[in-house]
Symmetry: C2
Subunit: 307 residues, 2 copies
């Protein structure tokens, strides 16, 4: 890519994700404006060096809508009506719903490309932001048939400037993928963590790193996740229904494993073993963390917009 | 504690846990003998500096039975019949079953104290062992009414020599605690990881650190975990039954969240939010990792047997 398309940007919604994007862009020399319905949040993001709080005087090259999925289309519409930018993308964790709502709200879909950076934290808000949050991480773009080529190229440049790895997917394909790899796991982790409310303190003293890892994501922002799960409910329900079936098989096996009938006992033990083996197999399918997190960032820092 | 009770030790079962204990004891100057039904495993443990492969010429001060729960009582009985040690402990992840079986097999319960070091890894075998595996970690001891005081003090010394934090519990109390904090979470993590078998590769490309953490323990040794779960089945089933109920509530809410009826939609959204909030609350109850992991080890390394 010969020329940098993005000299100026705006981030609407200065939470963890928006502020991290702004920190990355500012760090790469992009003039970045920070907007939030809470002026204090935008001021906080500005105070930690993420950019300039407030509206730009003229339209910027790209606006990133980084608000919860439920509000994405409305905020996009408003940003387009006020000519905030030439092109628009977002950072919402679901894509089909906001795209459909953007069409219903008569957004200019030629200037919009959906996006979802696959990084986050159980912490939230601008003070949890980090310029390197997206280094080496996948960042899904979901251009529609309406999206102009230059809109796609500008969104792609955003991904590269943040040090992330771009992936292109259709909206529904994206939503099914994150239901499987992020949304259903979040809910399972929450259900598991909620069980700890039934334990007394002496029981919890024996907790180890395994439990801490398995429940880490359950510490996330409940209101944001209610929105995310509600916006991708059918795909998440499909996965959890299957999990519920497996859980019932295992529960029955746990009850039979102490049976007086040796055959029932053996069968129960085999069921438990099979569930564990499938778990180990499934776990092995998950790609390891990209080894290039820091290195990729270093390689990028000299180039203006590698493609 | 004025005097070190343990100068010599034997570890029966040189897997991850047994070899890590042996490495720690050898590092603290205890003459340690390594036994395994697979002589190659004992030789491997000896080769990495965990001690001497083979039986000691005279009874040692303490024998640690580090075999799966199902075999613990039989191996203890055999070790006692062959006068392997003055005192005996074990490292099995469940305590009530092995204790009961030890009584049934006429083990000398006065010389035995149950034990469970709360550390592990998704890796297994002697080559995964580390001398510092237990640093700062809880190590539960479950002395019975029969256990002699000196047997308890010797087991306690083992815990200190390994740099762990001793906790004393009754057998059933221990088993309920680990069902909640370790066994049920393991199975939940496995069921979640098994869902990834249904995903295609392009879906798994978007997997992030949250999924990797939530499924890490699912990578453990399936045969060992079948034994552990089978040995603590009733307590694990109690917890998973509750989780199954919560899961059904959430599943229904996910189906209702797209309902045409605004009241049903609001109620569904509130149910999802409540489940997530309970998850965050439960997660907050889990004690953070002891900050003293390395420091505790350093403090211990000069003393012979701090109490």
């Amino acid at each position: 890519m010969a020329q940098q398309l993005m000299r100026t940007a705006a981030v609407v919604g200065t939470g963890l994700i928006g502020t991290s994007i702004a920190l990355a862009l500012t760090g790469r020399g992009v003039d970045t404006y920070l907007l939030d319905r809470d002026p204090q949040a935008a001021a906080t993001a500005a105070a930690i060096g993420a950019g300039t709080a407030g509206r730009p005087a003229a339209p910027v090259d790209l606006a990133v809508i980084a608000v919860p999925p439920r509000h994405t289309a409305a905020v996009l519409r408003e940003a387009q009506l006020s000519s905030l930018a030439r092109y628009f993308t977002d950072a919402a964790s679901v894509k089909a719903g906001p795209q459909q709502e953007a069409a219903e709200r008569s957004c200019d879909l030629t200037r919009y490309v959906g996006g979802h950076p696959m990084a986050g934290s159980e912490r939230s808000g601008p003070l949890a932001a980090r310029a390197d949050l997206f280094h080496g991480r996948p960042w899904v773009l979901t251009p529609s048939a309406h999206s102009r080529e230059e809109a796609v190229r500008t969104a792609l440049e955003l991904v590269h400037l943040c040090g992330a790895r771009p992936l292109t997917m259709a909206h529904t394909e994206h939503d099914r993928a994150v239901a499987l790899t992020s949304h259903a796991p979040h809910l399972v982790s929450s259900l598991l963590a909620a069980r700890m409310l039934a334990g007394d303190e002496s029981q919890l003293r024996v907790a180890g790193q395994g439990l801490r890892d398995a429940t880490r994501i359950a510490g996330g922002d409940s209101a944001l996740w209610t929105d995310i799960l509600g916006s991708n409910a059918a795909a998440v329900a499909d996965i959890l229904s299957e999990l519920a079936l497996d859980l019932n098989v295992v529960l029955e096996a746990l009850r039979d494993v102490g049976s007086a009938d040796p055959q029932a006992r053996r069968r129960a033990s085999a069921e438990i073993g099979a569930a564990l083996s499938r778990g180990a197999e499934g776990q092995a399918r998950i790609p390891a963390r990209a080894p290039t997190d820091r290195k990729a960032a270093g390689q990028l820092s000299g180039a203006s917009a590698p493609a």
